[in-house]
């Protein structure tokens, strides 16, 4: 539908719908770990039904050991024609919206951010930094929306913003149940902040981008894979001058992020704010790296 973000996916395994997720980079999809509870133990291959109709093969890449989050890796590149959202910082009283709905007969959700960020104890016993969301649509049961993205609602319009302008705030995880009638959900939902996501997966750190670009400035351990990872894509051949230039850029970025983290440790900057900035810096490094290698 025009005007709505198209980066979300429906995750399936063997024809069984498992839940929602969304592309957080061109190759990786974020979802709630509990959506993958029924995944077969001997088979982690998945089908991602994209908003544009394409079905992309994928596999579980990393399951957050201490958070209800999981990262899925596409096994073949998607025929990429959709814009990715930009991570952003939530503020209490901002409007939020979800561009995903489980079926065509379900409503889109939107409302106001009531508290952000707030430590939230999830049903699986883990604690995440979360957004407490008031939802305008009183469904009584929000099952099927887990793993979908929470975006900032554009103030001048009730409609979702265009994909190009989408500001990603978090990932929907849980509903709050009515205390008097626990069979029904209250109108309060909880979503992990995007800062929490960036913190939980080392994929979003600079060290990962260094590995991908073949420039090892800092030694780093590989992530704890849920299963054997597919091979990391190394550049086929990198021209030495380009490597030098990239090294300089990464060194500069690393120093910048170290500086920001120093400010966090001194209480001068908000940690979530720095994670979002670090993610943007890392993405710009990758863009620069790809541009130089394809020159």
């Amino acid at each position: 539908m025009a005007g709505r973000s198209q980066y979300w996916v429906d995750i399936h395994q063997g024809g069984t719908p498992l839940g929602a997720g969304f592309f957080i980079t061109a190759r990786y999809v974020l979802t709630a770990r509990h959506c993958l509870r029924r995944i077969r133990r001997d088979d982690d291959t998945l089908d991602l039904h994209c908003a544009d109709g394409e079905v992309v093969a994928a596999r579980l890449y990393q399951s957050g050991a201490d958070a209800d989050l999981a990262l899925i890796e596409t096994t073949k590149p998607k025929d990429w024609s959709i814009a990715l959202p930009r991570p952003d910082l939530p503020r209490a009283r901002d409007g939020w919206t979800d561009p995903y709905r489980p079926t065509a007969s379900d409503p889109y959700l939107k409302g106001l951010i009531e508290h952000a960020p707030v430590p939230y104890l999830c049903a699986d016993g883990t604690t995440v930094q979360a957004l407490q969301l008031g939802c305008d649509q009183a469904l009584g049961d929000y099952s099927g929306y887990s793993g979908s993205p929470v975006e900032r609602l554009v103030e001048h319009s009730e409609e979702h913003c265009d994909s190009d302008d989408a500001r990603l705030l978090g990932i929907l995880l849980e509903q709050h149940l009515d205390r008097e009638n626990p069979d029904r959900a209250s109108g309060v939902l909880f979503a992990a902040t995007i800062g929490e996501v960036l913190e939980r997966f080392d994929y979003f750190g600079l060290a990962h981008f260094e590995r991908i670009l073949g420039l090892r400035l800092t030694p780093a351990d590989p992530p704890p894979f849920a299963s054997e990872p597919s091979s990391v894509v190394e550049p086929p051949s990198v021209v030495e001058p380009a490597r030098s230039s990239l090294r300089a850029k990464i060194a500069e970025a690393s120093a910048l992020v170290d500086g920001l983290e120093d400010w966090v440790s001194r209480g001068l900057l908000d940690p979530d704010e720095v994670r979002v900035m670090a993610s943007r810096i890392a993405n710009s490094i990758v863009d620069a790296g790809i541009a130089e290698m394809t020159r």
């Binding site: 069984t16 719908p17 498992l18 839940g19 709630a32 509990h34 959506c35 509870r37 029924r38 209800d68 489980p102 999830c122 049903a123 699986d124 929000y142 099952s143 099927g144 929306y145 887990s146 793993g147 929907l172 995880l173 849980e174 509903q175 709050h176 149940l177 626990p182 069979d183 959900a185 939902l189």
Partner: protein, 106 residues
Amino acid sequence: MAIPEGPEVRVETVALDGAGGRQIGPRNRTTALLKDRHDDIQAAVAEAATVLQESAAKLDDSHQWRIRTVEAKFGLTLTAEAGVILSKASAEASFEVTITIERQGS
């Protein structure tokens, strides 16, 4: 009692996720053959009836009052894996059961 052969009768089951309904992944509708869950249902109703009978037997009649009947109403939900959940009667339950215990000689 043998159940006569006939059309396939299925009953809706629920998956035990341990999250108490807070997690909002899709709730896949699952079913099982009713005849396959015959023993589960029978055992659950028998056990609930026994508890109720024993409770009624322990009731102390005093002050010239006598309790003649005890009634309990509950929901019976079949789990997808195996077993039955007894709960407050609700829309989630597969069956709603009412047991009335009447004292002998009343």
